[in-house]
Assembly symmetry: C2
Homo-oligomer: 261 residues x 2
């Protein structure tokens, strides 16, 4: 299981100010901290910045200067996505696409042209979260087909089943079913299609870091054991990274030693 940092968000004040001032240091500082903490890829959540392609390019280049790891370009704005993927170069990943028709039409041509891998969210055509595991699996099949229609094979797709906030009335039940979805995706799609999940979603609405840690720490090993390939998470919470690494080592085929996590 690969750890992707979700810490670089333009909604963070210091990052937004730095990008406005074309000051690379706060961005670099955050990325260095994430890499030091164990991130092996960085999600760049450009938020409102997406309206300004030059700033998007600046932000992504700041990160790319520091690492060759995959960069997930995380924006709903197709034009910003194009600039971000261009700035990321090799190992830029489109994050992402869903069955929403306007999103498919806007993003998949870019994916086809750039050759970048694509995160596919298991959301319904209207953008809503499916309410059951069965529904998520139907969406996955449709999404794979939509990608194929644009010449993008499932090998290039990374499926995000969408973790439900536990604060939703049936959130915990959805999340239990999502484990089964992750487990069954390779068989359903017919290839070992990759999966990704945003762990922070689980505790949306909860502010106490210790409380967040408690719930995320329990769900993370479940995701790992279900076969999740990539976890998007707050890598600056040390205990959580230890759990991710420990889970990954225990589930790996390699030789085990106590010192590995």
């Amino acid at each position: 299981m690969i750890i992707v940092a979700d810490n670089l968000r333009i909604t963070g004040k210091s990052i937004a100010a730095a990008v406005d001032a074309a000051d690379p240091f706060p961005v670099e500082d955050m990325v260095k901290r994430c890499l030091h903490a164990g991130a092996r890829a960085i999600d760049i959540n450009s938020g409102p910045l997406s309206r300004n392609p030059e700033k998007m390019t600046f932000l992504v280049r700041c990160v790319r200067n520091l690492t060759d790891f995959p960069l997930f370009i995380d924006t709903a704005n197709p034009r910003a996505m194009a600039f971000g993927i261009d700035a990321a170069g090799k190992n830029g990943i489109i994050n992402g696409v869903s069955l929403k028709p306007e999103r498919l039409q806007a993003i998949l041509p870019l994916a086809a042209e750039s050759g970048a891998d694509v995160v596919g969210y298991l959301l319904k055509e209207d953008g809503q979260v499916p309410e059951s595991g069965e529904e998520r699996m139907r969406v996955a099949v449709d999404l794979v087909q939509a990608c194929r229609d644009f010449g993008i094979e499932a090998e290039r797709l990374i499926i995000d089943p969408i973790i439900a906030p536990l604060s939703w009335s049936n959130g915990h039940i959805q999340n239990r079913e999502t484990l089964e979805v992750i487990r069954r995706l390779p068989e359903l799609i017919g290839i070992p299609v990759r999966s990704i999940a945003g762990l922070s979603n689980l505790t949306t609405g909860l502010s106490d870091p210790q409380q967040k840690q408690k719930w995320e720490a329990a769900y993370l090993p479940m995701l790992a054991a279900a076969g999740l390939d990539i976890v998007l998470m707050d890598v600056l919470r040390e205990g959580l990274v230890t759990i991710a690494k420990t889970s990954a080592v225990m589930l790996d085929d390699g030789i085990f030693s106590w010192e590995m996590a």
Copy 2:
């Protein structure tokens, strides 16, 4: 998922001395601490005490005086088991039986006669741990049949797939397969047969409590998500109990609230 304390062991010096002196207080103190920590059943590991039926009876009665929760009588000595089960009364559980012929012959008649539930270890006839998930499943089928031959239906069986120490050369791979065994047991046996696992086994050979916690904290939610019904664990490690409760709440069908774990 129900939490069973593995803390009451006659190998603990204060407990052994207390039983020798027929002093109930150290035993009661330990049991109270376990119940306070969240244990909903107590495993009574009588160790060498098993050679002395009166002391066995004393120990089990000490515990029974404090709680109506299930008591797992954990001894390899059939005579001690008979005394322990008798002292435990209703809600005494035989821990346990395996395919070892002498064990089957000694324990199953007692189970048949007493009506107590029985823990069945997935060990081979020679007492060795099976090396693969497939082998564990074959053993499970044989064990269910052996119990049926004595008139004990699978509904009364609690299957322990045996967690392998991570220090074994293939321990982590066995444990990954064991998750699949737990998941498939109900389908394999044809009824929702219950499962139990001794979490402390995972870190046998490791002495640092923080290190133990790290590995057990990652494996415990995986066991819970696989469908484990009962976890036998050190309930006096607070963080671990929180993980067990948090996992159980997230996997439960009931209404969720942040305050439940």
